[in-house]
């Protein structure tokens, strides 16, 4: 076992044998193209990230929040990336890599639909046939994204097993891959899965912190005291942290979805949260040893979060390692806090964040006085995809910060639901 498959004791390659050759092939391609820039792969990747993706993206001084918290708050604007989330950094990298590897077909799983849309966009851009697996529950709660994938020419395959969310979609994509591995690349959507995925996805996403680290020095004249990013699988998290890891004074906060509660229901096998870093135990899922939401037997729990993109029982192995090493602090906020933060950022800064990203802002609200003078928060995506969910969940909760939506109902007449 070569050490670079591991992050401390996390990581590895726990996959059926039929996938191992593909993973070896991928490891080789990763080393050659990504690490060694063979055939100018990384140059092409960066060029496409700029021209197609819109990079570099701003680090914006957030005036209202800075005033509210008496702290210089900077927003890393991944919501402005083509497709509306940081996900394209990785999807574009992997689809391009698949092309360099001579693959003819792309598959991917998606939860919130953001990775699916990013992959569908990248595949359309690079002219690769593409199929996306998505749980039926997620299809229902993220319909606009389903639509976008189809519009981009991808197939969307509904996954009906389990609770029909991200975990099941990953499993189903692995099944497809086991069958088609010879001509197909599996574009995994976060820093999870068997090596080399966690490292590779992190490297594609590291452009976030590469830019942010320079930008914050330029704008604030110093390093930040804290960097916040929400953590589902952890790709935006690791992307936002990576280049800060060696900067000792910089606190790194991975904000997980606390859902409705941190307690688990062992009997039902349900965790009403997705806080695997905060509450999970070491185990093996989807190809890697990492922290998991599991029962004492090792059966994986159904996670739950109001934000589909955080709704995952595992987390990237590198992040698990960095938390164990106390380099990253694993924290979490609950659904209510995320929803309130969603409305706050929308109203006070004019930026509608993804519900995922809103978690980071929920943490900022709750702990701003412990974070120091300069704080960078990653806005991992925009919230257009979450409008339906937010309407529904906000009404359930009767939140103070929520706007009055009656104009939408009044005009619903001939239009149908939002």
């Amino acid at each position: 076992m070569s050490t670079d498959k591991m992050f401390g004791e996390y990581g590895g390659q726990f996959v059926p044998e039929s996938l191992m050759p593909a993973i070896e092939e991928l490891t080789d391609a990763y080393e050659r193209y990504v690490l060694d820039n063979e055939d100018g792969f990384m140059d092409e990747f960066r060029r496409r990230l700029a021209d197609f993706g819109g990079r570099p993206l701003p680090l914006q001084h957030a005036e209202s929040l800075s005033e509210r918290y008496d702290t210089a708050v900077y927003l890393k604007r991944e919501d402005l990336l083509h497709g509306g989330a940081h996900k394209l950094n990785n999807a574009l990298g992997q689809v391009l890599l698949a092309k360099y590897m001579g693959k003819e077909r792309i598959i991917a799983e998606t939860g919130a639909g953001q990775h699916g849309t990013a992959t569908a966009m990248a595949a359309a851009h690079l002219d690769m046939p593409c199929e996306i697996y998505m749980g039926e529950t997620d299809i229902r709660r993220q319909r606009p994204n389903v639509f976008r994938m189809k519009i981009n020419g991808a197939e969307v395959n509904p996954v009906t097993t389990g609770r029909g969310t991200l975990k099941e979609a990953i499993s189903e994509t692995m099944r497809d891959w086991a069958t088609t591995v010879e001509n197909t690349h599996y574009v995994i959507g976060s820093v999870v899965g068997p090596a080399p995925f966690p490292r590779m996805v992190r490297d594609f996403q590291a452009v976030i912190s590469e830019e942010a680290r320079e930008q914050v020095q330029e704008k604030a004249g110093r390093f930040p005291d804290a960097v916040l990013a929400c953590a589902g699988g952890g790709s935006n998290t690791m992307g936002t942290f990576h280049h800060f890891v060696d900067d000792e004074g910089v606190g790194l906060y991975a904000v997980e979805a606390g859902g409705s509660s941190l307690q688990v229901d062992e009997v039902e096998g349900v965790a009403p949260n997705s806080a695997s870093l905060s509450t999970g135990e070491e185990g093996v899922l989807h190809g890697a040893r990492t922290k998991l939401l599991q029962d004492s037997d090792g059966q994986i729990m159904e996670s739950h979060s109001v934000s589909a993109g955080l709704d995952y029982a595992g987390v990237g192995p590198e992040l698990a390692h960095l938390v164990d090493e106390e380099r990253v602090e694993a924290v979490n906020v609950d659904d209510d806090s995320a929803l309130e933060a969603f409305h706050r950022l929308s109203q006070d800064e004019g930026i509608i964040p993804a519900l995922e990203s809103a978690h980071a802002f929920g943490y900022l609200e709750e702990h701003h006085d412990e974070l120091g003078d300069v704080v960078v928060v990653n806005v991992s995506g925009r919230g257009d995809k979450d409008l339906e969910t937010v309407l529904e969940e906000t009404e359930k909760r009767d939140l103070d910060v929520a706007p009055d939506m009656s104009v939408l109902r009044d005009a619903a007449g001939s239009g149908g639901d939002l």
């Binding site: 590895g12 044998e17 191992m20 050759p21 099944r175 086991a178 591995v181 190809g287 090792g298």
Partner: protein, 281 residues
């Protein structure tokens, strides 16, 4: 001399079912029916919530078993309760092995798991998501408790990987007949012969699985050189039909038994055919 022994006297029929599917009691009967039908080794699935290598037939079996309350501890009780003479192999996913905890000693992980398995009479493991590279700790535990660790050779396994696995394997090698996930198929894959050819000179028995559905498939595969056939979904389909109420319980047991017999006989016929071909060569 471990699991290899069962392949000594002719082609082995190796059925797979998920323990506890659709209920503890019924499942005990079903396993016994398989033995009556001619099983030489039984791969008994310990169900994991994320069966990433299974097609829908076995996925659903796993769900039925878990919903009926199957757990690793119950699984070991199940094995103890079973009244069969053929060797049993535990087929599962690695997280259940890694998390297994010996309630008395508090020890957790592969060694605790292997110890308990050996205690109840299990003779080997197939851990679907544990490639040779990650198998160190379990391999050691198997050695300590005299268990076989069966690896799967996929159609994509070639070159160095193949050599490496040759060294680690014991009991038998599980030759995956085709790419993809488990599930009964209408045809025999062309990849089977190729795969068998790649392991022809290995000195462990070669059992072929993935997609075998009929006696005729069994015959062709054994004729092509397999020392055994592994059949899961085609049997689980029968259990599923029973679980759906299409057949009463006793009839389901009989159907399993006769399917087993069909497969075993197919394997035997295949062995004869092969013997005939070999002679005429």
């Amino acid at each position: 001399m471990g699991l290899e022994r069962v392949f000594a006297d002719g082609p082995a029929f190796v059925p797979y079912v998920a323990a506890g599917d659709p209920s503890y009691e019924e499942s005990l009967e079903y396993v016994e029916a398989l033995e009556r039908g001619g099983a030489d080794v039984i791969e008994l699935g310990l169900p994991f919530s994320e069966p990433i290598a299974e097609g829908s037939t076995i996925q659903e079996a796993v769900v039925r078993s878990l919903e009926a309350g199957m757990t690793p501890d119950r699984y070991f009780e199940f094995v103890e309760d079973l009244d069969v003479d053929v060797p049993l192999v535990c087929m599962t996913y690695y997280n259940l092995v890694a998390q297994y905890t010996n309630d008395e000693t508090g020890e957790r992980g592969p060694r605790a798991f292997a110890e308990r398995a050996a205690e109840v009479g299990i003779e080997g493991f197939v851990v679907v998501d544990l490639p040779a590279e990650e198998a160190g700790p379990l391999r050691e535990a198997c050695d300590e408790f005299g268990l076989d660790l069966v690896f799967i050779i996929a159609p994509t396994t070639k070159g160095d990987r193949l050599e490496q696995m040759r060294e680690h394997v014991s009991g038998y090698v599980y030759v995956q007949a085709r790419l993809g996930v488990t599930g009964a198929r209408e045809d025999v894959s062309d990849q089977t012969e190729e795969s068998l050819a790649r392991v022809a000179d290995w000195d462990v028995p070669k059992a072929v699985g993935f997609g075998i559905k009929t006696g005729e498939h069994a015959e062709r595969i054994v004729a092509a050189g397999a020392d055994g056939i592994i059949v899961g979904s085609a049997l689980v389909d029968i259990i599923a039909a029973g679980a759906d109420g299409e057949y009463p319980f006793t009839e389901t047991a009989q159907r399993l038994e006769s399917k087993a017999r069909e497969l075993k006989e197919g394997a035997l016929a295949g062995a004869e055919k092969r013997a005939a071909t070999e002679q005429s060569d």
